[in-house]
């Protein structure tokens, strides 16, 4: 008999973030009022963070299949086959709201959560990448947030011993009240040993392992399902505290346990803790679960069933083992000094039942929490977020283009990010082939000739200008980054960061953005195998720019056939790979440049033809594979000007610069230099190989245009008629670039 002495009320339901309609629906499903614990369970499973209720119908538009996909969305992480018996598990997750409230712990536990998502699949995490968005550099809270987030990622990842190998960090005032902390993790596993979060086998024991449960993080998932107002910082107690040492033990113990064959299913206790892990595991298996809450290891005294079910204490896992093999599990966890407790069993009744102190404190149909969770097709109304006029027209043509380049390089968006990544142990596990900061990180796969290429990418301004194109461009650029190191893109994870979905304009952005991403995924043959949605990134009813972040995994079949983005050698020819039948640099808005000069944003997002994009990417890969290309770097924010500077700044031999002639094109020269045309890759190639490379590029359906050469010491950009526009000494460029983060870190 269910304890009903603590009936929940409508008011309590509203306080838990449920709507009045949802409260009615719960009563209808149960045929009675839930008690307080049950209400807590419903609110945890039906909130936006766990139920994807506003996004689910849109997410179905993503292609998720492919011959190499071993596990698509719906599990803790996606898994893709790499050949030779190996597979990669990967996923990206957001920890935006907690990181704004408590940056160190918010970011640290973000890393912890995604690591568990990976090793719960049976994979050993081998790389972490972070996609970070902060407010304006001059915003008073920005330095505190940057320091805290970077410190938290470092503190957690370094201790666990998973290298942080890449990512991106950008600054824009639209994130002043809502920063983004998106963490991607990839892990390596045997392709025939994938573990899943399923609670199958009636009578099998349900086992709790890891840290004891405390009162931290109760309603964390609900916090991430609402916007911020002035009281945001008062939510600090809902942010959990991470213990990376415990995570490391849990990681090793779980991987050891998986080898012994006693594990039936396993899942991280992440958002909504014991509730979501138990419900989702039973839901996937079509079973029920009986939880004896008296057996849950607790860190604090007098914890109630409600608190145990909703706690988000970190470093905990729930697993189902084969009946009779409990002692094997116990032995391994004792060896690692970790609590382990049998807390229940798998049942055949399709219900989640919890007992405590002899009473049944919850008794709910599992399907009511998963399948019956509400889904909404929320109203959408397209609004133009930024003016269509190109603000370049209002900017007087500068007299000194060199000064504009130095100014951009001295901005934290384009400056040297080393002060961030030198705080991360990017080399532990001895697989990191390239330094952070390249187009994609390269991680070798020991025992093979292969390597993984990993990248994260996203451009919120394009999303704000045109969500559909913004979605396409994000996927295309991530794939281009993978190709720039010589690898073949395999599959995608994503983190979709948006504002309040209850606002039709936000919902329209979300829907169009997914349409664009899905289109690009289909064209480029890239399945989406995992992902995460973060809504309610708003403060005082002001939403962030739509920021879909793409995390991509690619494969280098031969690790020797790779390049970086820095120039290799003096005298090498600098050229652009671009779509055939298009100018090397067509007219495109110089968004980042104009924004830095005027603070204005507007105009159109770059045009893109996905067929042309595909050809450009194939051409770049071919050029690298044939050993012609010696460096490759894609053009993105800041166009050719920034790409050239970055290739010079990262040259293998310090002091290499460039001499480049802008191609013939109508329009302003500053617009040409910084124009953000899509589908362009800047390459350097030895003079003897230029013709061969041109042939190879053309055979892939793209075009190669020479624009200059690598030279020592000086960085020179000229008009087509040989008039110098920029003439800078490399040390001046280095000085501007290397000090860019000093005001924020």
């Amino acid at each position: 008999m269910i304890t009903t002495d603590t009936h929940a009320t409508r008011e309590m339901a509203l306080d838990h973030g449920l709507s009045a309609t949802e409260w009615e629906k719960i009563k209808e499903i149960l045929g009675r009022k839930p008690n307080v614990t049950e209400l807590g369970v419903f609110s945890a499973m039906w909130n936006e963070h766990c139920s994807y209720k506003s996004s689910r119908i849109h997410l179905k538009k993503f292609p998720t299949q492919g011959p190499h996909v071993l596990q698509g969305p719906g599990e803790n992480a996606g898994v893709v086959d790499l050949g030779e018996g190996l597979a990669v598990a990967f996923k990206m997750e957001s920890h935006n709201h907690p990181s704004f409230i408590e940056p160190y712990q918010g970011a640290a536990t973000g890393v912890g959560g995604i690591l568990r998502d990976i090793f719960t699949m049976g994979a050993r995490p081998i790389a972490v990448l972070d996609s970070l968005r902060f407010g304006a550099p001059e915003h008073p809270r920005t330095p505190y947030l940057v320091g805290g987030v970077v410190g938290g990622i470092a503190g957690y990842g370094n201790c666990v011993g998973v290298p942080t190998v890449g990512g991106e960090t950008k600054f824009h005032p639209c994130y002043n009240g809502n920063i983004l902390v998106n963490v991607m993790c990839a892990g390596i596993m045997r392709s025939d040993a994938i573990f899943r979060g399923t609670a199958s086998g009636i009578g099998n024991p349900v086992i709790y392992v890891g840290a004891p449960t405390g009162r931290d993080g109760i309603h964390g998932a609900s916090m991430a399902s609402a916007g911020f107002d002035d009281s945001a910082l008062e939510k600090r107690p809902t942010v959990q505290v991470g213990d990376p040492f415990r995570e490391k033990l849990l990681l090793e113990a779980c991987l050891e346990l998986m080898k012994c064959g006693a594990v039936v299913g396993i899942q991280d206790m992440g958002a909504a803790g014991l509730t979501s892990s138990s419900v989702e595991m039973a839901g996937r298996a079509g079973t029920g679960l009986l939880l004896r809450l008296d057996s849950v290891p607790c860190r604090e005294e007098a914890m109630t069933p409600y608190e145990m079910m909703l706690s988000e204490s970190q470093e905990r896992m729930l697993l189902v083992a084969e009946k009779g093999r409990e002692s094997e599990v116990r032995e391994i966890f004792q060896r690692w000094d970790l609590p382990m407790s049998v807390v229940g069993e798998v049942t055949g009744d399709g219900r989640l039942r919890a007992t405590f102190g002899g009473d049944e404190v919850a008794e709910l149909p599992v399907s009511s929490l998963t399948d019956d969770a509400p889904t909404y097709d929320r109203p959408r109304e397209t609004e133009r977020g930024l003016p269509l006029d190109d603000p370049l027209d209002k900017l007087p043509e500068p007299e000194d283009l060199g000064a504009t380049l130095l100014k951009m390089l001295a901005h934290p968006n384009h400056g040297d990010k080393k002060p961030i990544w030198r705080q991360y142990d990017y080399k532990v596990r001895t697989n990191t082939v390239t330094l952070p900061g390249g187009d994609a990180a390269i991680i070798r796969l020991k025992g093979t000739h292969k390597a993984l290429a990993l990248t994260t990418d996203g451009n919120a301004r394009y999303g704000m200008l045109d969500p559909y194109k913004g979605g396409m461009l994000a996927v295309a650029e991530a794939a281009r980054n993978i190709c720039c190191v010589g690898a073949r893109p395999l599959a995608i994870t994503n983190c979709l960061n948006f504002g309040n979905p209850e606002r039709p304009a936000v919902m329209a952005q979300f829907s169009s953005s997914i349409d664009g991403m899905a289109q690009a995924c289909r064209s480029l043959g890239l399945p989406v195998v995992s992902g995460n949605v973060s809504f309610y990134n708003e403060t005082h009813q002001v939403d962030i720019y739509p920021t879909p972040i793409i995390g991509m995994v690619g494969l280098l079949d031969d690790i020797q056939k790779r390049v970086g983005h820095g120039f290799a050698s003096q005298g090498d020819v600098i050229a652009l790979i671009h779509p055939k039948d298009e100018a090397p640099l067509p007219h495109a808005c110089a968004h980042e440049y104009v924004w830095m000069e005027t603070g204005r944003e507007g105009g159109d997002a770059p045009s893109i033809s996905l067929d042309a994009e595909k050809a450009v990417q194939a051409a770049c890969r071919r050029g690298i594979e044939m050993d012609f290309v010696r460096s490759a770097h894609d053009l993105s924010e800041g166009g050719l000007g920034i790409a050239l500077a970055e290739s010079a700044l990262s040259s293998l031999k310090s002091g290499l610069g460039a001499e480049v002639w802008l191609p013939e094109q109508e329009g302003r020269l500053d617009g040409l230099l910084y124009g953000e045309a899509a589908s362009r890759i800047l390459v350097s190639v030895s003079p003897q190989s230029v013709n061969a490379l041109q042939e190879a590029v053309q055979s892939c359906g793209a075009e190669l245009t020479r624009i200059g050469r690598v030279q020592e010491d000086a960085f020179v950009v000229k008009t087509p008629d040989n008039v110098p526009l920029i003439d800078l000494a490399m040390p001046d460029i280095v000085a501007a670039w290397s000090d860019a983060l000093s005001e924020v870190l």
Binding site: N158, C159, F245, V428, R429, V433
Partner: protein, 231 residues
């Protein structure tokens, strides 16, 4: 030659050391769990980097109480080769097998980067194959690598030729700019008076493969291999 890599809870460079010895150096190696009490037939013992016990309290402060440390101390007392890398170095100073202490980096931040090191002595088993004054490139990755000791101890270390590595710039000059963590006299690694126990903050096991940016660290493992083989 049998190597042993000690595994404390929280060690995270144990696999890297194992890989360097087994797959690059091609020598037998095994992990020894911290709860064990014997090193078996191990001729060379390595305390790897990481965050043993989460570095809670102080780096290396708890791991020194592990059961295996008694056997490790005996191994050291018998004059046999013992190498502590990063967290392993911290554990050696905490347990008194090496003098001094490793404090928080002067920047108060974790730092991961390539550094240049000058080898100051060839008298240890781990540097006997390296020319004195040779400049090596290795990686550091630590938050507490700022070597400190009493002035008297520092003088003894200098006088007794116990400083094994110093941070330098690429051309070998010992300068404050080349010092990544504020350590005294740019110390990156030291040895005991007998020379058989060596601790250093940089990670030689990360520099054993040209694919990953260099093989200078391999020289330390080659040294000990040659020395033990010839003795």
């Amino acid at each position: 030659m049998q190597f042993a890599v000690i595994v404390f809870p929280g060690s995270n460079c144990d696999h890297d050391c194992y890989h360097a010895i087994k797959d690059v150096l091609k020598q037998p190696v095994r992990f020894v769990w911290h709860k064990e009490t014997s090193l078996g037939d191990a001729e060379v013992v390595i305390l790897p980097g990481g965050f043993s016990y989460g570095d809670y309290l102080r780096a290396g402060a708890i791991s020194r109480f592990s059961p295996i440390m008694k056997a490790v101390s005996e191994h050291a007392r018998e004059g046999r080769p013992l190498l502590g890398i990063c967290n392993g170095f911290q554990c050696l100073t905490e347990s008194g097998l090496l003098p001094g202490a490793l404090r928080r980096n002067e920047s108060l931040r974790f730092v991961c980067e390539e550094v240049w090191l000058k080898c100051e002595t060839s008298r240890t088993p781990f540097t006997c194959g390296i020319e004195p004054d040779e400049i090596l490139k290795m990686t550091i990755a630590h938050g507490e690598g700022n070597y400190f000791c009493e002035p008297g101890t520092l003088a003894e270390l200098e006088d007794n030729n116990q400083i094994v590595f110093r941070y330098t710039d690429a051309d070998g000059s010992v300068s404050p700019e080349a010092n990544p963590n504020g350590s005294m006299n740019n110390i990156a690694g030291i040895c005991n008076l007998a020379g058989n126990v060596v601790g250093l903050m940089p990670h030689p096991e990360r520099s054993c493969d040209s694919l990953l940016g260099g093989e200078d660290g391999l020289q330390m493992f080659m040294s000990v291999l040659r020395m033990v083989a010839s003795s």
